[in-house]
Amino acid sequence: MAAVQDGPMELDTEKETKPEILSDGTSKLSGNTASGTLSSSPLTAGGAPKQEDQQTLIAVLQFLRRNKLSESVEILRREAGLEDQEDSQTLDGSGGGKGDRDGGEANSLLSRVSITSAAAPQSTLTPITVKRANEQLDVSVVLSAYSQQGDPSLYQVYYSGLKNFIESVLDCHRAELSQLFYPLFVHMYLELVYNNHENEAKAFFEKFGGDQECYYQDDLRVLCGLTKKEHLKGNEVLLDFRTSRFVLRISRDSYQLLKRHLQERHNNQIWNIIQEHLYIDIFDGMPRSKSQIDSMSGSFAGEARREVNKVKVFHGLLKEPEIEVPLDDEEDEAENEEGKPKKKKTKKDSMGSKSKKQDPNAPQQNRIPLPELKDSDKLDKIMYMKESTKRIRLGPENLPSICFYSFLNAYQGLTAVDFTDDSSLLAGGFADSTVRIWSVTPKKLRKVKSAGELNLIDKESDDVLERIMDEKTASESKILCGHSGPVYSVSFSPDRNYLLSSSEDGTVRLWSLQTFTCLVGYKGHNYPVWDTHFSPFGYYFVSGGHDRVARLWATDHYQPLRIFAGHLADVTCTRFHPNSNYVATGSTDRTIRLWDVLNGNCVRIFTGHKGPVHSLAFSPNGKFLASGSTDGRVLLWDIGHGLMIGELKGHTDTIYALKFSRDGEILASGSMDNTVRLWDSTKAFDDVETDDFTAATGHIHLPDNSQELLLGTYHSKSTPVTHLHFTRRNLLLAAGGYSSQ
């Protein structure tokens, strides 16, 4: 029998009020309702069986006895007509039904205690054992437990109460307050599960699960399968959800309304839950409309707080080094810092005068250490300049040609593709753990000769660089074996010397493209590594995996230099900013975060996707970020202001490939729906003027202009698009594995 029932103040009410029964009178419920009267105002007065009263009275008796209020004990016993029952007799539970109820009550009490004391009682313990343990519990502990949590069976009441309230407010506030539904629902459900109220949890879910927004349906399906506390244990994502605070952005007026409503009622359990689990970011201004809210919500932890996105981000490009080009037309290499395309039509660079000023948005040259330019790099740059002069200027009237590389006989094993910057090599990562490299140009792949043969060549000859290559084993493609799991990502280094591959076996491997052998295996993630990307200047690379962090490495350190932790779920996509000072990560928790390489801080959080983010692309000028996810939408973000500035709808399946053209005028997206779509990014970025951003709220109304921005849709014959690449002359290359259905 429960030894302690309630505080002394409420003894009288306890005696007099009948315990309510909300739903069917299961044993657990009856126990709960009896104690539920303490913290909540009585709601319904259902017919209570006499045994409930009896039990309550005995509980009260117990309490009085313990506190040595013997006179009160006598009085109570006499008045209630109770027999002088010893604790032990009631404990052993003569009647079957009564015994069950006792057990139920004790169980519920104990389970309530578990919230505060974290002592997890086993709900399947026999009633007798439970009661004995219960007697030893401190009064204070049990009391404090009650003040924490409401009655589980009343959760439905709380929720519907809130629902009624929200439906009755003004339209303008309703959309904002409706944001509360989902996080409250999930938290209440998880509380019920965590405290072993399985039946209540299921009933709660059935009643209110269907009301939630459609974009939360996947999460709800996962929740539906979680009915016991043990299910929660291994699920890191949900545990994180429980402990992190869901962020809601609500205007001040709506917030006042809500607060007033919740605080004036006696049962302010919802208020408690809000305070504990939600973070309400209040802003001054107009309440947001439903469409505005919908576009920003969908992530696992709500939206981002405004302060998070206010950190200064240096999104400008680094100054290009001055290289003397020994060509017929002496072009000066000094580039405009704002990264304007190099239109070297005239011999003299008229933009040279601006090179003295520092772009305020660009980071210092030495903000992070970068490798110096070697002679070979300088030669590469010269080639780059030459090719840029022949670059086709793209636009809505001048769409790029698309060359599609289909991988035949891959049998859905093609998991990753990358091209070198000069489009001379193509690498494919496969589910059979191999990496294959092909030469896109007619030039065959050659590896360096072995040490013995190298001794024999003439080192002084002019063509020594050709002589060190082994002609005998030249081939169109090379296979790199080494991983022990599917290769999920490949990335070439900018100087074409190295290739990175990341795999399900938890390692990232560095391969040499001169000897076609593996050089280093970087171990750090102990879980599948979903993506890896070389820095645009080489030397650094970033990887992200199932362990929910992204790591920054340097090729000459066997341990990561930076760990970017903060995502609530797997990191599925990692990309460097063109100035190599920032890393963007997209995750299964439906957010995109921008991290500072210098100190590892998260400087931006972008929410709005409704599914895991699988592709990211920085615009060549460094100001904007495009992201694609499983919901088929491409979202455009302004990095400097930290806001969403565009939404491109059109794809019907996951978008795995995103690339901006070389000058940033066109955004190409490739998806599992076998199409490549071209979007007018100049128009998308121009349309948004910065005046709106200066408002504190920063909420802009996104025009639904996807159709205008769509420049073309190109279908492949049942080949999903895995990768896109613009050549230096703005020809679009696409790659995918042919699947025959």
Partner: protein, 253 residues
């Protein structure tokens, strides 16, 4: 995957029907038919393992039957072994904070390929050739334990090397008595292979063992032992002129 027609529910055994229902409840609508079989196999193996473990625990606790506590304990132990989940968030935030405090290291200029120290790379040769000479005196009466394991190349880092080690002939130190061949466990190189090399070299009888330094490779060792039978002893003598590295030559770990 290949979408063949799903087996009609009537002909599908009950377990498979349950599995199909589970997949449907979890929202998975498209899957290859073999997925059901794989899931059922996994289920069967998992449940069997758990119940076996539970039986062990219950007999250890001297109980007559297996009860829920045993099962619970068995599940708990297996969860920590097989289904390891990534570290919790606060732990990750903690190590991230530590790691991110150190400033980024400066980059030394003009250093050639920027790779970690050799011991963290996979660039070392994964075999070495051990000279016989040093063993002559010490192992006269010893039985050499055969360390022959020709394993398939595992997908672990047992990768080819950047440069082949150079092998020098031990021709000058010949004194190798023929009788030594009996003491070593060797694998004869197929005569065809050996014959091709025969012409290249003079008849220098050498017996060499190629040993693997296990610290170089992870789990699998590849041992190739060659037996160069001296010409005096047998007619089809061969000798492989191989250049082998001195033992101290390579980067000893």
């Amino acid at each position: 995957g290949a979408h063949t027609k799903m087996a009609s529910p009537k002909t599908v055994p009950k377990d498979a029907q349950v599995m199909m229902q589970i997949l449907k409840d979890m929202g998975i609508t498209e899957y290859e038919p073999r997925v059901i079989n794989q899931m059922l196999e996994f289920t069967y193996r998992y449940v069997t393992t758990i119940i076996e473990d539970a039986k062990i625990y219950s007999t250890h606790a001297k109980k007559s039957t297996v009860d829920a506590d045993d099962i619970r304990l068995a599940i708990q132990c297996r969860v920590d072994q097989s289904f390891i989940s990534p570290p919790p968030r606060d732990f990750l935030l903690d190590i991230a904070r530590q790691k991110n405090q150190t400033p980024l290291p400066l980059i030394k200029p003009y250093t050639g390929p920027r790779l970690p120290p050799d011991r963290y790379c996979l660039t070392a040769p994964n075999y070495r050739l051990k000279s016989l000479q040093k063993k002559v005196s010490s192992s006269a009466g010893r039985i050499t334990v055969p360390r022959l394991s020709v394993g398939a190349v595992s997908s672990r880092p047992s990768t080819p090397t950047l440069g082949t080690p150079s092998v020098q002939t031990v021709g000058t130190k010949v004194g190798t008595p023929v009788s030594l061949t009996g003491q070593r466990f060797t694998v004869q190189i197929p005569s065809s292979q050996a014959a091709s090399v025969k012409s290249a070299t003079p008849t220098t009888p050498t017996v060499q063992n190629v040993l693997i330094n296990p610290s170089l490779i992870g789990s699998k060792n590849i041992l190739i032992t060659t037996n160069m039978v001296s010409q005096n002893s047998s007619g089809d003598s061969t000798s492989l002129k191989r250049k082998h590295e001195d033992e101290d030559d390579y980067d000893a770990l």
